[in-house]
Symmetry: C2
């Protein structure tokens, strides 16, 4: 109703979050239920767009929805300590760094393999060995 209200399509365009995804976020309570127009259409304002952009950015950084929920409630209480937000970000950073290290090792092996192939020998395919390396620590699958 206000000049600052957008339909869901416009909100999607402005926030970079797809229409069905916005509805999904509302459904799981990540986004408050939007107000509705006469004809039952969802209406969004600036604040909603900001929240959507926040969610999108956090998802791009690989944060899980539950983590984002926490970050959002933290955002809503600006006088609280920042320590919780810091912890979430740090945990994510560690995951990402682990993954980079693993991928670097894999890249080296693939490079080595391609080089060997160029010189005509196929023989010992160490890519498999690298990946099959059982000395690697057992950990849960790193998310994204």
């Amino acid at each position: 109703m206000l000049k600052s209200d957008f339909a869901i399509g416009e909100a999607a365009r402005q926030s970079g979050v797809k229409v069905p995804t916005i509805r999904y976020y509302e459904q799981i309570g990540l986004l408050p239920a939007a107000s509705r127009s006469e004809g039952n259409r969802r209406l969004y304002d600036r604040r909603d767009l900001d929240r959507l952009a926040f969610i999108r950015h956090a998802r791009e950084l690989g944060f899980e929805v539950e983590a984002i929920r926490t970050l959002l409630t933290l955002q809503d209480s600006p006088d609280q300590s920042c320590a919780a937000a810091d912890a979430i970000a740090k945990a994510r950073l560690i995951e990402v760094e682990k993954r980079i290290a693993s991928l670097n090792a894999l890249r080296d092996e693939l490079l080595r393999m391609v080089k060997q192939c160029e010189s005509g020998r196929i023989g010992d395919c160490r890519v498999i060995e690298t990946l099959a390396d059982t000395t690697h620590a057992h950990g849960r699958l790193a998310e994204a």
Copy 2:
């Protein structure tokens, strides 16, 4: 039957892949159907364990099952032409390098976030602010 045969539980322990996940991998054809004991139990040997460890590691690195399927063909056909293996390896290499680049960008942003957060008030929390930053470019979710 051979001395080198393991039950699924033992295979899980040794490979770091959970029992139901092993069965799932067999179901989707990522792992060849295991031979069975008298009492219909799956039996695994060394080669199977290697393959499982390989799959686990590749999944940790974020490869999709389909990519792993391709990667496994490298292992299964060591006599194949160099060109074919080379092509697969090169394609994977490009993928891996892209992924590393993407993760590096992610890490930098996380690092910046975390560094500037001196655990003060949420009001001035860089983590939250960074996520809320709408000047960020629209891009698809950073795949692993």
